[in-house]
Subunit: 93 residues, 7 copies
């Protein structure tokens, strides 16, 4: 199990034509990296001036991330992205 | 539904020759990306030193954004831009 | 009407050989972008640590701006510039 | 013995196909630098405004680091990396 | 009249071989931009955390500025430079 | 005698195959700059907000520095490096 | 007379093979800019948060500066360098 550190999240990009919970098709052209991901795990948050700032994104959220955000990792044959919470642009509900 | 995070807004660029509420034609040459957009959704604001700084732009505002601001996303076949509030230059009334 | 946000101002560049209020000719070579502009509208100012810092430039001021400052916009067929107050170098009286 | 300073850690990259404690195979293509490492030693933490911020990673942790993080050193014929804690993305448990 | 804003000064570069008040010849090779200037006008100073930091250079000072500091402006046919006070390196007495 | 200023240290790089106090051979390939150095002199530390932050490295320490850290100087025919303490990665004991 | 502003110093580079007070020869290869200089004049120090931080280098000090630090000026036919105190690496005693 991968546990992100600080204010990072482990996310898994969704396939281009996947249906979200609310039934919406997220179209993404084949040449472009899909921008919608599922949050698999979140870190504890970041300490700022000795106080923990908790995370506002949570496990299971569908999120939109910037095209060049995060670090790609491969774990048990599956590709993930570790992103800082500030690089998560929006939540898809 | 897309809910922007932090001090971001989801905006939809207006067509080049569209008429605004006040009847003004916003001319934009065909080669240039139009700079006027409608605010579709705003985030909760940004936390600075543990305090939430609320948004001063709101849903329905017609705004002007810088030419290279924001991240383009496609959602249900429609193109949007997610921009940070600080990249919104002005409101058109 | 365009209402600048934050500590921005909407300014309109003056023609190269235009006479200012005090009768001075502002010569600017034809190849150079004129640097004197009239302030058309100012924003409310910027919030710093929760306090509003008011603007020190105001509507009607003739100002000098840096050559590459601001974002050009076209509104009702007229070209304007939206600049941050910190990019306004001086006032011409 | 190498004792990292500040909020740095001395880590040793794991071989590409090594089995972790929990039995997971961390596959990494041959062309890519493996991203999983074992923490060999940690520094005391960083002083911020006169107060020591202790380390949240510890000796023996299996961690994931960014691809270009840290400084490579060779010590007694073995290659290590000295990384800042902020460049450690996640812990593998 | 040009009134600099913030902690800026309006300065006029001296001719290369000009004599200063104290009779000193400031030699500057012909290919190089002269670095000594007279302060023509100063701004009110900069507001830092709501307090005005007054200027330490004043009208009439002979100052040395960095080679690439400031913005050139032409006013009534004369060339000036608007520089931030922090780019003024020294006073020549 | 060279007395470093602020939080800097004067260090002398060790020869590639030199034996440290604890008898360890620090192998460094011939093409690479050796990364282990002896601290010859340290500065008083840095003043942060009016308070002196003392140095945590000291005269005689064997330290590891980043490959491109510091400024090379030659003094009495011997080459030294002046580095900021933050560029010292670890102590070798 | 040149009076540096803020936390700057006016320094004069020493000839490559010059003897210092303590009789030491500072060898510097002919192709390299000598790095030892004499402090000719210092500024009053820098104001940080409204308080003056006094200078720790003083007139007459022999100092070592980084190779690309400061701004070269020519005054009464002699070349000087105006450097910020933070770019002075060490004092030679």
């Amino acid at each position: 199990m991968i546990k992100p550190l600080g204010d990072r999240a482990l996310i898994k990009m969704k396939a281009s034509e996947e249906t979200t919970k609310s039934g919406i098709i997220l179209a993404s052209s084949a040449q472009e990296k899909p921008q919608v991901a599922e949050v698999i795990e979140v870190g504890p948050g970041e300490y700022v001036d000795g106080k923990l700032t908790p995370m506002y994104i949570k496990k299971g959220d569908n999120v939109i991330v910037g095209k060049y955000a995060g670090t790609e990792i491969k774990y048990e044959g599956i590709e993930y992205l570790i992103v800082k919470q500030e690089d998560v642009l929006a939540i898809v509900e």
